[in-house]
Structure formats: C-alpha cells, structure tokens
Amino acid sequence: MRRRAPQGTQAVQRALALLRSFTPETPEHRLSKLAAAHGLHPSTAHRLLGVLEAEGLIGRSPDSQAYRWLPRPAGAGAGPSIHHNGLRPLEPLRTPFHRRTAALCESNAWRDWSGYACVETYEPTPEREYWAVRNAAGLIDVSPLFKYEITGADAERLLDRLMTRDFSKSRTGRVMYTSWCNEEGHLLQDGNVQRLAGERFLVSAAEPCLRWFEDCGWSMDVEVRDVSEEVGVLALQGPRSRAVAEAATTGVDFGAMRYFDLATGEVGSGTGGAPVTVSRTGYTGDLGYEFWVAAEHAEALWDALVEAGQDHGLLPAGLLALDMVRVEAGLVLIDVDYVSASHAEIEVLKVTPAEAGLAFTVKLDKQADFVGRRALELERDRGPAWAMVGLEVDWFELERLWSEIDLRPQVVGQPASREPTPVFAPGGWQVGQCTTRFFSPLLKKYIGLATVHADAAALGTELDVEVAVGYGRRRARAQVVRRPFFNPLRKTMVDPMPGVDG
C-alpha cells in the first residue's frame, strides 16, 4: 500500500504545483481561480502563495489583485551557466525592500547604486512615476545610502568638528543638512544628520566616510557605527504623502511636523507595529517624508505604505524619476554636479561648499573649530572662484533652434542627462559646465545645473549652453535663474493639506 505523503511533504507538493502554473505564457492568476484549479481551499492557496511570494518566487500584479510570474533568479538551474551563477560575492546587493521592488519592476531596468540593485524605472518609461511624485505620491527605495550612527558623550562635539553647520544648535528631533570638508576647505560630501537623542546622531551620506569620521574623532568619547545594512529607507514624496504617511503609521503627529523635523512611531494602524523613524526630508523638493526602519521590518513598512497609498494614487518610483524631480528642486548630486575632494585626482576638480552652491551650510560664525575652517575663512575674504547656478532655456529659444531643422522641439520624455556640456559667455569663451539638465514637463522649460565662473553667476546673466538639436550641437541662450526651479509651498508648510501647492 502506498503510504500517504506526510503533512509537510504535501504542502511542498502543493506549493510546487502552484508555482508551476506561473509561466511566461500564463503569467497572472487570481487567487480564487487558482485555488479552484488546484482543488485547494482559498485560504490554503493564499497561505502557500504567500510563502512563494515572500521567497521571491512569484510576485503581484501592479494592482495587487493577482499573483504574477517572476523571471527565475540566476542560479535557479535554468540552462548552463555563462558566469556569475553561484558566485555569491558578485551578486548585486539587495536592499531590504528588494522582494517588493523586484515584484513590481516590470521593466527589469535596474541600476547599480553603491553596489545595490536599484530600480531605474518600474514601468518602461519614468513618466508616470515622475508625475506621481509631483501630483500624488511616489515611493522611492533609497536604502543604499550609507548610514552612520554616532553615539557618545562627544557625539555633538565630533559633528561640530566635522561639519560646516553649527551642531551646538542642533536639537533632538531635528535633522540638519550639512556639508563636510577636508582641511583645504574642499567639499567631501553633503548629507543629512538626524539628532535622535542627546548623544545619538544618524548621518546619511552618499559615499562611505566611516574612516574619516573615526579619524576626526580620535581621542573623543564617541563611537561611529556603520548601520548602512541594518536600516532600510523609503522616501515617500509628493502632495499626498502626508495623507499616505498618516494612514500607514501610528503615533506620529504629522500635523505638527515641520520641515526637517524627526519623529518616531509605529508601522500600521494599530499599536504594536514595528518601530519607525520618520523625517520630513527628501530629495525631491516636494512635501515628503523619509522612513527609517530596521531591515527586518522593511517589508511591513513597504506594505503599509503601499496599502495606504492605494486611495491616493501612490506609485513606486525609480531612480530616473528621482533624478528628474531633484533637478527641478535644484539639488546638487555628488560626483555628478561636483566631484568630492576625496575622488579628485587634480586640484582644479575640487570645490568648496560655496562653489557647489552650498554656502548656506557653512557657518563661519560658529564657536567650534571645524575641519576646513581656516581655508573657508580665506575664501570668504577672497570670494569663491566658481558658483553653482540654475540655468533655464525658454520655450521660444528651443523652438527657434529646432525650427532650423524644421522640427518642433524634441525635448520631452528624456531622463535627466548627466553628461557635462560646456557653458559659454554669449557668443564667447567657455565659462563653465552644465552638469545635469532636462526638459521639465511641469515647468515647460529646459533647466540645468551648471558650475560657472563667479562673475558669470548673477541672476539674470545670459549664457549659452550647448544643446543637442537632432544630430547637431547648438548653443542655446540661457538665463541664470533662482534655484530651486520648483518650490511648492507645501514643501515647508506646517500642517500641509492635500491640494495645497506653491
């Protein structure tokens, strides 16, 4: 007599049978139909599919109504290996949200960010994700940021020594955006510092700086800990972000949170959810919040935000959309708009904070000596040599250039370009370079960030920028304009309400 398969084995068999019904040809199945087809009770099917999903073997359809086939991960035994398979050290790292983002990444467009696989666009083009940030809410996984927890009696002292901002003025529950420099006053990085408690800070940075922080804190009563991999970060950005955030968390008074405030709460609507830290910060120039959560609770946070966002038009947004909105916000990006002094092989590539448009982060009136102070004092007396400016090419200029080849301007729908192009005095010499630019469909202007000689930086100055017109390169007349290009009231307003914009 054949023995009945034991309980555990039966579950495995059922799960495998379910898994086999997901193929590229039949990619989507709804729970009820699938359960019926396999003769399973819907709750059993739900449980088994939940495991398959959690293991990253299947995903959900964009509307979450159905389960969906996922491409097999490398090494799953499909075909002979060409390379990489089995080489764990070579696989891109996965953020704590990876299973969620992977299930939604229809385009399969990934980009490396600090060694992590990050979604470039979820859909084939970034338009909807871009508009979600400006019109509803976008959810962006920014976990690859480096995160350093600084604790100890001298934590404030260390930050005051490292940073150009005045940390004697920092208060618990606030975030400070700051620059940090080397001894020559050359910019190393810019980033946010959260004051989580009197003697506890969290620095977020684009690039590693553990060694620098430790060395600058030599002899201080302070500990610097790299918590980059322990903390997941989600940016929820856009006019509806407050409503979504409020519905997805408990214990945070969003009405009272000011720009750059910090709060703690719990994930989900009831009590007992995972602890989460919320900062009213972001890289979009819009109303928005960033959520900092222990990696093991990352998925719970994602699920809560996505669920809460369903009624508000929330979409997950990839890095291309982020790059577009950050230009509108006039925010500089390290190693795109400026070269960190720690990477610059020759002197001319290095800039001071002022030259990178970050003069407002340098507090020469602060008490403490900070790294680079002497050089920055000299610069104050002498004046910076370069300036970061916003450039704007208006519609008529674009029409004029494109009409030369008998076309309407072909500028919309392109992601922000990071290839530096020259900037000239009108009809004359090169005075700098434009490092990021794109046509903003919101502002209906071609906008860019440029570094130019200080004497070409005054608002209203006319400059020529090189733009691609068909296969040709033309000089377009641009104006130096105020940054941010886009700055809605809701970004900073206390108790922001849906529908309020700038």
Binding site: G86, P89, S114, G115, R211, E345
Partner: protein, 574 residues
C-alpha cells in the same frame, strides 16, 4: 589568431656567416627591447641588424606550444608597462598588438574565504568592507595617491636620467652655465613638475623609494589580508619580502604601467607575450630591419675609440657605427666590452662593477596544462574572477615565511603564487574545454643551499606549487595534464639573463636612475662612444615596456645628428 613566431624568427638563421657585412646599426639581443630599438633605428632610415643568440626571438617574452594544442607564455605573462608612445609610434596595433584586459584580482584565503577586487569601485568597496570597512574606504585614497605616483613616474621616465638630473640641478643651482649640459624645454618641464610637487606627494615618493611595502601600506590599511594582497606587486621579481625596506619601490614600478592612459591596468596579449615580441619584430621588419637568430655576439669591436661593430661567437665580424645591447650588464659591460677599448682607461671599473650587479633570480614559473577550469573553494563556479589575476598571498606572514625559506637558500615550501588562466582570456591558448594555467612563483633562489637545481629539486618545487594550489582549488592536482617548471637557471639559459632576475637586475635605489646599470653608463650611452645600452637594466627597469629601448634609440639618433652637423653635412642622416 595565433601569432607564429617563425614568421619573424630565423631570418637568415642557421647561416650566420651569410649575413656578416656592414650596417648602420647593430642591436644585440632580440628581446622585446632589442626589437623596439631596432624598429626605432630602422624607422629613422638606418640599415639595422638584430643579432640574437638563441634560435627564437622574444627573450623573456617568448611563448611556445609546449605541448600539442597548449600554448604557454613561458616566462612573462601580462602587459601593462608597454609605453603608449611605443605602441603608437611603431603602429603596433597594425602589426598585431591585441591586449585583452584582466579586470579583477582574486586572493583566495584559507577556509573558503577570499578577497576579491573588481574594476567597479563600488563592488570592490563591498568586497573589502567584509574584511575592514575602514580599509575599503582607504582603498579609494590609496589608489588615488598611487595614480598620482604613477603619473609622477610617467613624467620622470620620459627622459634619460642624466638630462633630468641636469635639469633639476639647473633649477636648484639657478645657473645654467655651471652645468655643461643642454637641457631641452621638455626635460626642463619635467624637472619643474617634479620640483613643484606638493609636499604630500614628495613625501609619498620618498617613502616609496625607501620604505618596505608592508610599512608603506600600513599607513593606509589595518587588514592583513588587504595589505598582503596589495603587497604582491612589491615583491614580484625581487629578492625582497614585503617587510624589506625598498620593496615599496617595486610596488611603484608596477603602478607606472598603464593601458590607454589608465594606470595600473594589465592586459593579456593574444597568443601570449611572445606575440608582443613578434608584433614589434614585424614593425621593425616593416622598416627594413633584419633579424638574425642563432647569432651570439662575442665581443664589441672598437676602432679609434669608437664602437665599430661586433664579432660573433663563430668569429664573423659585423660592422656598424652604432652598437646597441639589450643584454644584462654582466654581458653588455662585463663580457662584450674589452676594457682596453674604452677610452680614458674607464673600462676596468665598468667590468668590475658589472660583476657586482645584483641580479640573482628569485622567481620561478610553473606552467600547467589542465583538463578543465580550476574550482576555487571560495568561488567554485566559472566566472569573471577566472579572467583576472589570482594571487596566493593570504597574509603578510605567509609571504614573509616564503621569503625566509629563500633567505636561507631553499625554495619556498609554501610559495607565493601569482596566477592567470591565459586560455580564459584567449581561447586559442588551449584546446576547447582545456586550459593553461600560468603560475609565477616566489621564492626560488638562483642557487640552492642544498645543491644544484636538478630535475628532482625542480619537480619538488613544482609539487610545492601544486600542493598550495590544491589547498585553494581542491582537485586541481587531478586536472593536470602537463607541467612545465622553470627556475632561475632556466631563465638564464633560455632567455639569456644572467642570474635569471626578471628585471635584468634588482629594482632598488642602489640600482636605479643614475646608477642603473652603472654610474658611467646610466643614460644609455656607455663610455665607448657609439656603444649604447637599451635593455631592462637601464632607466625604466624591467618589464615589457619598450621604454628604455625607445629612449636609447632616440639618443643614438640624436648623437648621429649632432655628429653629422659637426661634420658639416646632414647627408649622413635621413
């Protein structure tokens, strides 16, 4: 495409007497440097002959089909130091230069762990951070500084050391008249660059000339694993431990290499490094140079206080007003030159000093033909790590102990191994599915305390290498189809390098710049007018660079021009 050496070797070989006669210039040795010199001289319109003692060209760059279907790059294995100006001026790409980049370095560690460094800095950060986050960060700074140092060497090596010294002396003395040397604007520019270096870079440079690599690296890094990995380049070809003062310079030597302007890149020449020599030979021949193998030179001829040609071992005379030797100084200065011929009685000192030249070999080569790809315990599956360098140097102590064995006259029982798998980079190197493994191994001293390097000792050395490999790639011992073991006396016998030192002489401050290979012959000229040095024992040092040969040839051409002008006519020189 497998480059056939026979295409270019053996022009007139076997019948050396046929080719005696008159030329404008003779180059002794058809190693890559000799061939570069010949190409430059022929390109300038001179009638040039290269005389090589062995039946093959290439010297230390030779490659051969050692076993049917398996091509070995017998000695040297990677290219980086090859000067871009040599590549472009001699149009080497047209003549067959084909460099496949080796993008990564894997250091297998005991227990299935590893340190992996890739071209992508982000990934490398992650790999190194597993061992030390501080070091992963410091690696950025270190590489930046080493690129600056590499660039400094690039500037320094663009001129002969005597010109440079004159230019620097000129700047220091602030008086051009006091120095009886004319300094070109280019050289003055290099001198200025050097003297105007920021203090921090000058400090690094002095450190690199004097410190041990372990101490030098210790200024940046805390992880022994990373220090050992980075120190590998500081011992290559040198009878030094990473803890020996001076080893930091050898590190720098390996950072001045570049491929297409990117310092510290290494490439594998399709067909093996022998194809580099073949490529250069073709370039030389395209300008009319003649290459004769099996033509050992016994002596340099002198007439009226000038070089006038050479005498071959078989007694044939070949005449030329310019003689250029690429052989090591023990040969070029110690054997080929009759001290009596050197004007001003300067010859005896030369010979004596040549005998004291430090060029004992310390490295062996174990080339393996294997039945399949090795499976490293740390990364068993095939992957990009197999197309990069793979180094067995799991810690500074490990390498230091390997050195200790050699210090007392033994070969390393657990050697340092620098390995590539040429057949992964170039499928023409082995039959499909099979592979060749090139292991550069240290330490293997030229002389063993226990007795001569007989077959038993050679095989014992080979066994030690396979034993160590099997610790990291279990099963490799059963994959081996053929094995070639070469130790310094073999390098001496086959490539004609006395002592078998891969650089034709240790790269130490005592044998560098104005002292390389001799204070009286440091700038390619010897005290015998018309007789020049152009091999690895001169400025630049060893490695597949072509740098010394180019500068030597340009200098000889300069001298010819000057002489022609003095004689009142430019007719002599094209």
């Amino acid at each position: 495409m497998t480059v056939e050496l026979t295409e270019v070797a053996g022009t007139g070989s076997g019948t050396p007497s046929r080719g005696s006669g008159r030329f404008d210039a003779i180059v002794v040795g058809a190693g890559h440097n000799g061939l570069v010199a010949a190409a430059y001289l022929a390109r300038a319109g001179l009638d040039v002959v290269v005389l090589e003692s062995s039946p093959e060209i290439g010297g230390a760059t030779r490659s051969e089909e050692a076993f049917p279907g398996f091509r070995f790059s017998v000695f040297s294995y990677l290219v980086s130091l090859l000067r871009p100006e040599v590549i472009h001026e001699l149009d080497l790409v047209r003549h067959g230069l084909f460099l496949v980049p080796t993008a990564s370095t894997l250091n297998p560690l005991p227990g299935g762990d590893c340190l992996f460094r890739e071209a992508d800095p982000q990934r490398t950060y992650r790999h190194v951070a597993r061992h030390s986050r501080r070091d992963a960060e410091a690696l950025f700074e270190y590489k930046l500084e080493m690129r600056r140092m590499g660039h400094l060497m690039y500037r320094l090596q663009r001129a002969a050391p005597d010109e440079l010294a004159a230019a620097i002396g000129d700047r220091v003395a602030e008086s051009a008249e006091r120095l009886d040397v004319e300094v070109s604007a280019e050289v003055a520019d290099i001198a200025r660059y050097f003297l105007d270096l920021p203090a921090a870079q000058l400090r690094s440079f002095v450190q690199m000339l004097t410190m041990s690599s372990a101490d030098f690296l210790g200024q940046w890094f805390e992880s022994d694993v990373l220090k050992a990995a980075l120190s590998s380049s500081s011992i290559i070809g040198s009878m030094l431990s990473p803890r020996t003062p001076g080893s930091a310079y050898v590190l720098l030597h390996h950072y001045m290499g570049e491929i297409d302007g990117i310092y510290r890149e290494w490439g594998f020449q399709k067909g093996g490094t022998g194809a580099v020599a073949a490529t250069i030979a073709r370039a030389a021949q395209s300008h009319g140079a003649e290459i004769r193998t099996q033509s050992p030179v016994a002596r340099v001829l002198a007439r009226d206080g000038r070089a006038a040609g050479v005498v071959l071992a078989n007694g044939d005379e070949v005449r030329a007003g310019v003689v250029m030797s690429s052989a090591a100084p023990q040969i070029s200065l110690g054997r080929l030159l009759d001290p009596e011929d050197v004007p001003g009685g300067a010859g005896a000192g030369l010979v004596e000093r040549a005998a004291r030249w430090q060029s004992g070999g310390c490295a062996g080569k174990v080339n393996l033909a294997i039945s399949g790809l090795p499976r490293f315990e740390c990364m068993p599956e095939p992957g990009p790590h197999l197309s990069g360098g793979i180094t067995i140097a799991p810690g500074l102590d490990y390498v230091d102990r390997a050195y200790d064995d050699a210090k007392y006259g033994g070969f390393s029982e657990r050697p340092f191994i620098d390995m590539i798998i040429p057949s992964v980079l170039d499928p023409d190197m082995a039959p499909p599915g099979k592979h060749v493994l090139s292991c550069f191994v240290q330490y293997a001293p030229y002389e063993l305390a226990a007795g001569p390097w007989d077959d038993a000792r050679r095989e014992a050395f080979g066994d030690a290498v396979v034993r160590v490999l099997a610790e990291y790639a279990p099963g490799i011992e059963d994959q081996i189809l053929h094995r070639q073991v070469l130790v310094p006396p073999d390098i001496e016998a086959i490539a004609g390098i006395p002592g078998g030192n891969i650089f034709h002489g240790e790269l130490r401050l005592s044998q560098l710049f104005l002292l390389r290979p001799d204070p009286a012959a440091a700038a390619f000229r010897t005290p015998l007018p018309g007789y020049y040095l152009c091999g690895s024992s001169t400025q630049f040092g060893g490695g597949i660079s072509g740098g010394p040969a180019r500068l030597a040839a340009l200098r000889a051409l300069d001298d010819l021009r000057t002489a022609a002008t003095a004689a009142g006519g430019a007719a002599e020189m094209p």
